[in-house]
């Protein structure tokens, strides 16, 4: 499906990603975890073709390292960005509709009923709020909208950047349920960035731990979740943070 070799991203003099190898297999949920500034978002941006990078990115055998973001979207790689980034002044329905632009073109004659029904069945709350402007939604609803918008684009690979950011624990729980459901139902492979390590490890098949632009550890999520080093580095910390809050 997706194969990344020796990916490097730099911003001026800062080297944010220092040569990483990542693979996403068909049907799998793969996670990138790591602290703030580790370079996770930069990796997703490189895949989507919105940031300068070097190294090889291969998608179903096609080299997309230097493809434009428009071409990559047309291939069905859909990126749900960090912080949701919905279109605030458009309605929920209009936001979803714009997600089709990659296969529907700018004048949008083709029918998108099937996609819409699928998204509404996944997130019934979006149907209820169909006519509401996106800025007026809660954080969790906005995240659903951002994911729904990506699902409208007939995705073959979904990139999710910190879907749990800023959401209440119960909402996170529900959201991750949906994410695994989407993956299980349609076999849609997902590459997900998360800071919520426990959640990420529990829903994913394979996990990479990113530290300062490099992969410090990788393995099947089921193994990593019991790994002492991971426990010390991630759960220990997140427990403490939770207690302090």
């Amino acid at each position: 499906m997706l194969k990344i070799q020796d990916l490097k991203v730099r911003y001026g003099s800062i080297e944010a990603v220092k040569g990483v190898n990542i693979e996403v297999k068909d049907d799998a949920i793969v996670c990138l975890i790591g602290s703030n500034g580790a370079g996770k978002t930069s990796i997703l941006k490189a895949i989507s073709g919105v940031v300068e990078h070097s190294g090889l990115i291969e998608y179903n055998g096609e080299d997309i390292s230097s493809a434009s973001n428009i071409h990559i979207a047309k291939l069905g790689i859909q990126h749900v960005p960090e912080g949701r980034q919905v279109f605030p002044g458009l309605t929920v329905f209009e936001n979803l509709e714009i997600g089709c632009v990659n296969w529907r073109g700018y004048f949008g004659k083709a029918d998108h009923k099937e996609e819409l029904e699928y998204v509404y069945s996944m997130f019934p709350r979006l149907k209820e709020r169909e006519k509401q402007l996106a800025w007026s939604l809660s954080g969790g609803e906005q995240q659903m909208l951002a994911i729904g918008r990506a699902l409208m684009g007939r995705p073959k690979l979904l990139l999710l950047d910190e879907p749990s950011m800023g959401l209440a624990p119960l909402v996170i729980e529900e959201l991750f349920q949906k994410i695994t459901e989407i993956n299980k139902k349609t076999g849609l492979p997902i590459l997900m960035v998360e800071q919520n390590a426990r959640m990420a490890l529990s829903v994913s098949d394979y996990t990479y731990i990113i530290e300062q632009g490099q992969i410090s550890m990788e393995g099947a999520s089921a193994d990593l979740i019991h790994d002492d080093r991971v426990e010390a580095a991630y759960f220990g910390k997140s427990w403490k943070v939770k207690k302090e809050v």
């Binding site: 973001n69 428009i70 979207a73 919905v86 279109f87 605030p88 458009l90 509709e97 714009i98």
Partner: protein, 287 residues
């Protein structure tokens, strides 16, 4: 007399509305104040003059061709003035290049069509009696055409898929890019639409104010309308501009020489009382 002034005021206000709408569309799409909008307005008068009198086209053919030419000029404008500088870290760069472009356009027009003002016959000659005073038909034509233009813009951005894509790109260029929207296309289209919109405004005022480079000064009133309406708000720009037109028109009752001064005096007083404008300009608001 009062009714006549009201009609004149609304008509001129509608013209300012086209200008402020042209500016606001670009503010929302690229966040840049286009100071050359007045020159694009003036260019509209020259292009339609040229097609009508020098090429000899009938009205029904002249309008669509003029719109296409003005649209393409807007696209060319975007690729030469905005695109090369879009990543500049100093925000004034593009404003300065717009100012440069405005004098280039003015000079170019003078080279092609000369320094002397040209006469553009009104669409319907003669006057109509309203409230015992004679009023040129052109004012009524201006109101009708402007309402149509504003309606068409509203339809494009609200009712058409491509318009909503342009709105989306204006609201969040990054997210739109991830979905596969080409920023080059949406920005170029916005420049094209903006140029065609104000160009038609230039055509509309030509029979009343002659075809001359000085027409670009209308931009100031468009700016005033936009500021009164609320910076960045589409609805505000239209309402604010019509208000400016009406104030300017009734100012004649007090003075004929200082009409402009009165408009800007009102603008300043207004800004002191209501600094955000009538409608708080929010990029997130619907167009």
């Amino acid at each position: 007399m009062y009714l006549q002034l009201l009609i004149v005021g609304i008509a001129m206000g509608m013209i300012y509305a086209l200008l402020s709408l042209g500016i606001v569309l670009l503010v929302r799409a690229v966040g840049v104040l286009n100071f050359a909008e007045g020159q694009l307005f003036m260019l509209g008068a020259y292009v339609t003059f040229c097609l009508t009198y020098q090429v000899g086209m009938p009205l029904w053919l002249m309008i669509p061709i003029a719109v296409v030419i003005l649209f393409l000029f807007g696209v060319l404008f975007m690729f030469s003035i905005y695109w090369p500088l879009r990543k500049s870290t100093w925000s004034a760069t593009i404003i300065i290049s717009c100012l440069g472009a405005s004098s280039v356009i003015s000079e170019l027009v003078k080279v092609i069509w000369g320094n002397n003002p040209l006469v553009y016959a009104p669409l319907i000659k003669g006057t109509v009696k309203i409230g015992g005073v004679n009023l040129e038909y052109q004012y009524l034509i201006i109101i009708a055409v402007c309402i149509l233009m504003i309606f068409l813009i509203q339809m494009l951005f609200d009712k058409m898929y491509v318009g909503r894509i342009m709105q989306a790109a204006a609201q969040n260029k990054y997210a739109a890019g991830l979905l596969g929207v080409s920023a080059t296309l949406t920005v170029a289209a916005t420049y094209g639409i903006s140029a065609a919109l104000v160009g038609i405004g230039g055509w509309l005022v030509a029979p009343l104010f002659l075809v001359r480079t000085g027409l670009s000064d209308f931009l100031l009133k468009g700016f005033a309308g936009m500021v009164i309406g609320g910076y960045g708000s589409v609805k505000g720009a239209v309402i604010g501009s019509i208000l400016v037109g009406i104030i300017e028109s009734y100012a004649v009752l007090l003075t004929t020489t200082y009409q402009n001064a009165i408009v800007f005096l009102v603008l300043i007083v207004f800004l002191v009382i209501k600094p955000d404008g009538l409608i708080k300009g929010k990029i997130s608001e619907k167009a």
